[in-house]
């Protein structure tokens, strides 16, 4: 199963189980989404459960909030994470705070899915990684799956969650794991063990990281596409890195991170998003607060540069295996 199919399957499973689950967004209904994540759902569940919307992200999220407070469980799509800014007020001022400000009178069980990240020559409007804009907001949960198995289990958990969840789907992983080598063909998910996704209902808990490579030299904290870039970097640099796929940014599985860094004594944080005030800054701060006396080297970050996401220079911008590999070597040699 590809990640697209896994995401669709998660919605399919939930729409079949719970008639309160509704799915909508731009091009989501009849056509099934520009990435095909909702293909077939309208035919199967009808136009009132899966439908097209006007091109208005604040309208999509605003109506979804109203529906969630009514008692439905909307799972809406923002066509690209880059398009979510018109909905940001609805997300930050409304969805995230309803439970708190009304002391539980009103709650907002809502999932907002959006393709995130670069690597598809999408330029600045189809490549951004805005996760830190969500993790900074009290009241939101932020999830970034890195494979079909996780995507399905986490999306079902997100739909069942009583609070708003931002579900960021690394679009470079939709069809196969991408290790940052853009000049090599990707391995399709059908040939990858994590493409083997059980049918039916299962969940993965929000707030539980996964150690995807055990190692003793340095801990790498990554999520989404960077999980595979980090794996390639470890293989190519020969550094025995322990790679943690965070899977959920908020809530964060700090326990797993701390256990690993206390073991390795070194930590490199990797993300596609820009460096300054990125989620990596939060991770670095948390690691030094919790592991200072175990650290043998400065915590470093390998990230996108602090520029808008460029078009022609995409592969100079994107943190690839070479850059990450150098950071691993530096961390170990420091």
């Amino acid at each position: 199963m590809t990640m697209i199919e896994a995401i669709r399957d998660a919605m399919d499973v939930m729409m079949a189980r719970d008639e309160k689950v509704v799915v909508f967004g731009e091009d989501v209904g009849y056509f099934g989404g520009v990435f095909r994540c909702t293909a077939g759902l309208q035919q199967k569940y009808g136009r009132t459960r899966c439908f097209d919307t006007p091109i208005s992200e604040s309208g999509i999220v605003g109506t979804a909030i109203g529906m969630a407070t009514y008692g439905l469980r909307p799972c809406v799509e923002i066509q690209f994470a880059d398009y979510m800014y018109p909905a940001y007020d609805q997300i930050v001022s409304e969805a995230a705070r309803l439970r708190y400000r009304s002391n539980g009178e009103f709650t907002c069980p809502l999932v907002i899915r959006m393709p995130t990240g670069g690597g598809i020559f999408g330029g600045q409007t189809h490549s951004q990684s805005p996760e830190a804009l969500f993790t900074h907001v009290a009241g939101l949960k932020t999830v970034v799956p890195s494979n079909p198995y996780d995507a399905k289990g986490l999306l079902i958990a997100a739909i069942e969650d009583p609070d708003p969840v931002i579900f960021l789907e690394p679009k470079r992983l939709y069809n196969g794991p991408f290790d940052g080598h853009h000049d090599r063909p990707i391995i399709p998910w059908s040939k990858h063990e994590l493409g083997d996704v059980p049918s039916g209902h299962f969940t993965l808990p929000l707030g539980k990281a996964s150690v995807v490579r055990t190692g003793s030299a340095v801990t790498v904290l990554a999520y989404g596409t960077m999980v595979y870039v980090a794996q390639a970097a470890a293989a190519e640099s020969g550094i025995d890195a322990e790679i943690i796929d965070l899977r959920t940014l908020i809530p964060l599985d700090l326990e797993t991170i701390v256990a690993s860094v206390r073991k390795t004594g070194r930590c490199v944080v990797v993300h596609e998003a820009t460096l300054t005030s990125g989620y990596g800054a939060e991770l670095a701060a948390l690691v030094q607060e919790s592991c200072f006396f175990h650290l043998e080297a400065p915590i470093t970050r390998v990230t996108g540069w602090d520029t808008p996401y460029p078009h022609a220079q995409e592969w100079d911008y994107f943190p690839g295996p070479a850059r990450v590999g150098r950071a691993l070597v530096e961390a170990v040699e420091a």
Binding site: S56, T63, G66, Y70, S102, N103
Partner: protein, 410 residues
């Protein structure tokens, strides 16, 4: 061809500013009873002129006239009168309390009481309002506890919202009153979504969206109209045009459009303008729109033409931006006095009974205030615990908040 003249920018200004004589000659007031009452399933195209007129029931003599009259009994009207008087007394007491330092902030309804009080009467249990901060009449007329409201205003130990929200941002699911954001226009589109959910669920409940004249300029207002129009959501889209958005006159948000109600026409939404200071007219139009929604005929847009007699909030002084006597010159009068005159004309009320009712209501409000203050005020007496601050961010407290609560030592 000659060279074009240099361009110039048009920046609208109100007719009068402080120091000038109030002038409402631009507010065209049709006589009461003049506007027809169409069937609720009317073709929106056939009633376009209703977006430019003003539906009125009470005339200058205090009589209820025309096709929108005759919907409420004497008892219901007297009850409506009491609701408005209660809201006015409540506001007066809370304003004083704010000046006494018992709370940080307050917003009153003076002059706009008829709108939320009469609208509430048109709704059924289970319907949901998405109000702004100037519709507390929905709670008062709905029988919500004044003590609870005051406890919220005081952020005290009995505050139903545990001190988390600015005063007057009430929330009560049971009373069909959605949690007020304080951000403008965001809830307009949520109301449409709530109404869509009711239709998706094959329910019979409807939603009511609320917004002020100034906030119609927000993009969420337009998103709400397009979604309401596209999906024929069972929602009443209310615009309270009280002429002033803090210091900005309504012409800045209205632009070149003749009226705010006219905004609905481009979306094919039946759009009506009503005298917001006429309890009977507000009720009649609300009932019409609620019936449309309930019968799955889709949304209705209503512009209430009214005037904000008081300041925007306790944080501004209107004499700095509009003539002091402007409210006296407002051509639609005062909603309480107009209903009072109507009841007197009908022979079911008198000046004496009015004074008596005023005194009774004030006693009730003062008693509620005493009780509320016994649970504390913002800076004195009981207040929500600092520990409460960490609850309710999520259904289940995540580890990072647990750590922070521990650090805070609460």
């Amino acid at each position: 061809m000659s060279e074009p003249e240099p361009l110039s920018l048009h920046v609208p200004e109100p007719a009068v500013r402080p120091g000038g004589s109030p002038d409402f000659s631009n507010v065209k007031i049709p006589r009461a009873g003049a506007v027809p009452r169409p069937e609720v399933d009317v073709d929106p195209e056939a009633i376009r002129e209703l977006a430019f007129s003003i539906i009125r029931v009470l005339n200058r003599n205090g009589e209820a006239v025309g096709p929108w009259a005759g919907l409420l009994s004497d008892e219901e009207l007297i009850e409506g009168m009491r609701h408005m008087m209660t809201l006015r007394a409540f506001d007066a007491r809370m304003l004083i309390a704010q000046r006494q330092g018992k709370t940080s902030f307050y917003m009153q309804h003076l002059g706009e009481e008829a709108i939320s009080c009469a609208f509430r009467r048109a709704l059924s249990p289970g319907d949901m309002n998405f109000p702004t901060y100037r519709q507390a009449g929905l709670l008062i007329a709905g029988g919500y506890s004044m003590v609870d409201m005051m406890c919220q205003v005081y952020s005290n130990s009995r505050d139903p919202l545990k001190g988390r929200q600015l005063p007057v941002m009430y929330a009560s699911k049971e009373h069909g009153f959605f949690t007020i954001s304080g951000n403008l226009a965001t809830q307009y589109v949520q109301a449409v979504g709530w109404a869509m959910a009711s239709a998706i669920s094959k329910d019979t409940k409807i939603a009511a969206a609320w917004i002020g004249d100034g906030s119609t300029a927000e993009s969420d207002f337009h998103a709400a109209l397009v979604f309401a129009s596209t999906y024929k959501a069972p929602v009443v889209l209310n615009i309270v045009n009280n002429q002033w958005a803090i210091s900005t006159f309504q012409g800045i948000a209205r632009g070149g459009s003749g009226t705010f109600a006219a905004r609905g026409l481009g979306f094919g939404i039946p759009s009506l303008r009503v005298d917001g200071n006429d309890y009977l007219a507000v009720y009649a139009v609300a009932k019409w729109a609620v019936e449309r929604a309930r019968r799955n005929l889709g949304p209705t847009l209503i512009e209430y033409v009214t005037y904000r007699v008081g300041a925007h909030s306790t944080s501004d002084d209107p004499s700095a931006y509009r003539p002091k006597a402007e409210s006296d010159a407002w051509p639609l009068g005062d909603p309480v006095i107009r209903l009072k005159n109507h009841l007197i004309v009908k022979g079911v009320w008198s000046e004496e009974r009015h004074k008596q009712a005023e005194a009774e209501i004030l006693d009730t409000v003062i008693a509620a205030q005493k009780e509320a203050e016994s649970y504390g005020t913002l800076h004195a007496g009981g207040k929500p615990s600092a520990r409460d601050m960490f609850d309710g961010v999520y259904a289940e407290m995540p580890p990072h908040l647990r750590r922070q609560r521990q650090q805070a030592g609460v």
